[in-house]
């Protein structure tokens, strides 16, 4: 594991208010992000990736969401128990976020300059003029051509890729220590995706940030992340260094994901997929949540909640039968 832990999440559970009371969208999730490390978070749609990410910034609505248990320690401080003011200092200042859809994450009635300088004025107490200069430098940093002219434009004048660059400029404005990128390229054209990822990687090196990268594209994760956490139906099913995960996956769900990942050299229309779909958080089986879709599930899988077990140092999986079969003590 690279360096000291910047973020240490322990047993995080997030619940939403539904028709039948509170249901857990994320349950007992634990992970760490080290200094300058990139942790990849993968899983199918609805597995709880965004919910996990939003918890780190305390962005769930109090009315509909609650976090009954868990610790989110940022540099030793529990974010969940931070007073509002201190939490606001972290947001945008120390921990910043890039969202999925750049078409809707920028405010349509404020200029690019307004939106970038707001963070600078708020966290660094810059004067309006200094903030504007800094905003222009940031646009240069995210490689937006003709930055001076773009400053006074409104978001609707920019393409999707350009908007995502603006969102990234906003996120790195105060040199955050941790950048959370929730599917930053999913909404973009394929050619633009590669450019944005390259930009993110360069910025990570340049600014020495840690990154929590959420994606359901395993190719992106393979290239970018140092370690990977795989989520299924609100739970962690496997965490491992990136090479170990791709070369020696343990959990049947991870194996399924890897088999289903589209590869460019595989020039075929019939890509393998995992049969079935992710269960609704309100209707979950008592045992392993993946067991209804699992090819190798045993009777015990359906009834007993599986515990996390260790395969190699730093490589954990929530599948006792597989771990036993591979010769690791469960």
């Amino acid at each position: 594991m690279a360096g000291e832990m910047l973020l240490d999440v322990q047993n995080l559970t997030v619940q939403f208010r539904g028709d039948a009371g509170w249901t857990s969208a994320v349950e007992n999730v634990s992970f760490q992000v080290g200094e300058r490390e990139c942790l990849g978070l993968v899983g199918e749609s609805g597995s709880g990736k965004s919910v996990t990410a939003l918890s780190i910034l305390g962005l769930h609505a109090r009315r509909t969401a609650r976090i009954p248990s868990g610790v989110i320690a940022y540099r030793g401080q529990d974010i969940l128990r931070l007073p509002t003011r201190a939490l606001r200092k972290l947001r945008g200042g120390e921990i910043a976020m890039v969202f999925q859809d750049p078409m809707s994450t920028l405010n349509p009635v404020l200029t690019i300059a307004d939106q970038i300088t707001e963070t600078l004025i708020l966290h660094q107490s810059l004067s309006a003029a200094a903030a504007r200069q800094q905003a222009q430098r940031l646009l240069d940093m995210v490689r937006i051509p003709d930055a001076a002219r773009r400053l006074d434009e409104y978001p609707h004048r920019l393409s999707g890729g350009m908007r995502q660059r603006v969102v990234i400029a906003m996120a790195i404005a105060c040199r955050p220590k941790l950048l959370i990128a929730d599917e930053p390229t999913t909404a973009l054209d394929v050619t633009i995706q590669a450019q944005i990822l390259e930009l993110l990687r360069d910025l990570q090196d340049e600014l020495g940030m840690s990154v929590l990268l959420i994606s359901h594209d395993l190719g992106v994760i393979a290239e970018f992340a140092h370690r990977v956490m795989v989520m299924y139906a609100g739970r962690t099913v496997e965490t491992a260094p990136v090479r170990a995960l791709f070369e020696r996956p343990v959990h049947p769900y991870t194996i399924g994901l890897l088999a289903a990942a589209p590869r460019l050299e595989l020039d075929t229309d019939r890509l393998p997929t995992i049969a079935g779909s992710i269960p609704d958080p309100a209707s979950i089986v008592p045992g392993c949540r993946y067991s209804p879709r699992c090819d190798v599930a045993l009777e015990s899988c359906r009834n007993l909640p599986p515990a996390m077990g260790s395969a190699e140092p730093g490589h954990l999986a929530r599948c006792p039968p597989r771990l036993a079969a591979l010769g690791f003590a469960a």
Binding site: L90, F99, T105, N107, V109, E118, H156
Partner: protein
């Protein structure tokens, strides 16, 4: 040929004003009975009725009358009142400041309260503050305005003696007295629109607060109130401006009743007098004025759109 968007809207307003003029003209002909006989009254002689018919040009073919109507309008001639000893235009112009003042003061009360209540209700969604605002909105549609006006006069003018119960003081005789004369009728008028504006602001605000860019603002560390006002409220301005335009029309319309209760010598009273006296030219003139005012209001709302939303500006 490309026209400036505002110029294009102006051009589009012209046919609407023409239609309003035709409709006003037809007022005289669509009403049941012979207008000349109605104007002359039930006990008028045949000669008297004929005289009025000739005087108003009602003996000519309808098409000729319509052409003459437009020719007169083009000259700024709205005709002469049958009962007041003056032209329709001068009668209207004399009373215009009263109604304009009343509507303006009422609007100046409605907008800040309506918007503030709407934003508060959205922010405190589901709490007693929200419910209180919705109650006020309900009041606007369920209680007649003359009733509130009378209660208000009993309380503030009769019992407390704080405000005059009737009459108008022009602004050039002192802004304080002008405002004292108008504050009560304008408040009663505004009371009915504050709830409407609050309700529309609230729902626009709730839509906006669900948008992704609000979450972005929070993720940047922007405080809750700043998020609501800077990022949220600015995005509700389009619907709020639209509703404000409608409300101004409603205020002008509502002034007809309020001017009666508070004995304000405005357009509303003028038109009621005109209707009671069967003064057709006067009623026509006022209708035309109202019609043009509403068209101009809509135009103003369009202009405001381009000021509050950059996306409309670049359309």
């Amino acid at each position: 040929m490309t026209l400036h968007p505002l110029l294009r809207r102006l051009v589009r307003a012209i046919p609407i004003i023409l239609i309003v003029a035709v409709l006003t003209f037809m007022l005289m002909h669509l009403l049941p009975g012979d207008p000349a006989a109605v104007i002359a009254g039930s006990d008028a002689s045949v000669e008297a009725v004929d005289r009025i018919r000739v005087q108003l040009g009602l003996d000519k073919p309808v098409v000729t009358q319509l052409v003459l109507w437009f020719v007169r309008l083009a000259h700024g001639d709205l005709g002469t009142s049958l009962v007041l000893d003056q032209t329709v235009l001068s009668a209207v112009m004399e009373r215009l400041p009263v109604t304009a003042s009343l509507s303006a003061v009422a609007l100046a009360i409605t907008v800040p309260f309506g918007v503030a209540f709407g934003v508060l209700a959205a922010y405190f969604r589901g709490t007693w503050i929200d419910q209180g605002v919705m109650m006020l909105a309900l009041l606007g549609v369920s209680v007649p305005s003359f009733w509130i006006a009378i209660l208000s006069v009993i309380l503030f003018s009769v019992t407390l003696g704080w405000l005059p119960s009737s009459g108008y003081v022009p602004m050039d005789q002192g802004v304080g007295q002008w405002l004292a004369a108008l504050i009560q009728p304008a408040s009663v008028l505004a009371l009915f629109q504050i709830g409407f504006l609050a309700r529309m602001t609230r729902s626009a605000m709730l839509d906006v607060l669900d948008q992704d860019f609000i979450r972005t603002a929070r993720a940047k560390g922007v405080s809750e109130w700043r998020t609501i006002l800077k990022h949220g409220f600015r995005n509700t301005l389009i619907p709020v401006v639209t509703v404000t335009g409608i409300i101004l029309s409603l205020l002008i319309g509502g002034s007809v009743i309020i001017e009666q209760v508070f004995a304000l010598p405005g357009i509303g009273r003028l038109v009621v007098q005109g209707i009671l006296a069967r003064d057709y030219p006067l009623v026509q003139g006022v209708m035309l004025l109202f019609g043009i005012t509403f068209v101009v209001l809509n135009l103003l709302v369009d202009v405001l759109y381009t000021m509050v939303d950059p996306r409309v500006r670049n359309e």
